[in-house]
Symmetry: C2
Subunit: 233 residues, 2 copies
């Protein structure tokens, strides 16, 4: 218990006023079930709250960070950030799972490193910080552990290539990205489209596909690979 | 435009610092499309934000209001409050739709009173208040227009009878609600269960059903009707 308090202070600079809230956030339902007679609270209520707190803080961040992104793009970005897989990764990075009170059966079945548990614990922890410390402290923590990842494009993997290319290029301001069909060939039942993607007038990639949409995606993919290569060298 | 500013002040006591944010929240995409050359922003980005702001404020309210409700129950309550139908009703109650800038085609097709538009405008308005005035003003507004409805059980309709009964009875603290199978009758393929529901030891209702679960729901329904009748008289 002391170790958890110390860990939270070391990693996030936070000291809880009410330690019982912190402990609740690190108590899995399987542990509460193993100690049913003690009426221990599990993390689920805090997870309910933390989930909404994460959603609104990420939404606010994206809204201000990308003042020219249409709603659809913001929604896709948010989804890729707050999805269970991303949050589980974050929880593991900060070793949150090591401090979870887990039931015996769950421990034996390697529940501690299960992505769903990792994600739940992160959300419950955010919920606990919100209840005990307020929204501003939540934001401070996310500024340290999550927002820089957004800025560096860590969540672009789940996106389609066109969106990912746009994210990457528009990170520092609006740029013009244009897709142009430069060729349409083959018979009707086997048509092929050739699309070029131009960024601020320069050719960045060329793609081929069975539909205009597929060719655009292919072109964006080529452009992304080209950009990644030039970044690495 | 002046009328919108006045309406928002009259209804919610709020004066926007940046009126353009307020106007954006009341600009439907169909209007922006009709005036494409003017590059007008529509309400969708604010709706994206307002949706998350509503979710977190309602979550926080429920979390504190019902300290003993398990997560599943909180989630069901939240869903019934923030669902489109509920929000559309609220938007109509406060006449928000009358101030929306709508495209001509949309207006002719009675878009102004469509539930999806009503819901979108309410979310966008909440998003605009959040951006221009901050979270505390959002909460003040919801304390006036939404939370009292939660307290009075206005969102219990979407719930199953057992949950609705629990909401109603536990609004002012925990009470013991017990369901007991008092009879099981009929042959296997046509079994009937009889269930009694007792509240703090007193019989509140009796229900019959083909399964234990169905009989419990029937008993809860009887109890709810009994409580509603005694409230009305």
């Amino acid at each position: 218990m002391k170790k958890l308090v110390q860990h939270v202070y070391d990693q996030f600079g936070v000291t809880f006023n009410d330690r019982s809230v912190l402990i609740e956030a690190f108590t899995h339902s399987s542990y509460a079930n193993d100690h049913r007679d003690e009426q221990i609270r599990n993390l689920e209520r805090l997870e309910f709250l933390g989930d909404a707190v994460l959603e609104v803080t990420v939404s606010e961040y994206l809204y201000h960070k990308y003042p020219n992104h249409p709603e659809g793009q913001l929604t896709r970005m948010r989804a890729s950030i707050v999805r269970a897989e991303s949050l589980a990764k974050l929880a593991k990075e900060y070793n949150l799972h090591q401090f979870v009170r887990l039931g015996k059966g769950e421990e034996q079945m390697n529940g501690r490193t299960r992505p769903s548990l990792l994600c739940d614990v992160l959300e419950a922890f955010i919920g606990a910080v919100f209840v005990d410390q307020g929204m501003d402290v939540v934001k401070d923590i996310l500024k340290a552990i999550l927002f820089p990842k957004i800025d560096s494009g860590a969540f672009s993997h789940g996106m389609d290539h066109k969106t990912a290319l746009q994210e990457l290029l528009q990170r520092n301001g609006v740029v013009t990205i244009e897709y142009t069909v430069v060729d349409k060939r083959g018979p009707d039942h086997q048509k092929e489209f050739v699309v070029e993607v131009n960024v601020e007038g320069d050719l960045f990639g060329k793609g081929v596909g069975r539909s205009k949409k597929a060719a655009e995606q292919a072109a964006a993919k080529v452009a992304l690979e080209m950009l990644e290569e030039s970044n690495e060298s």
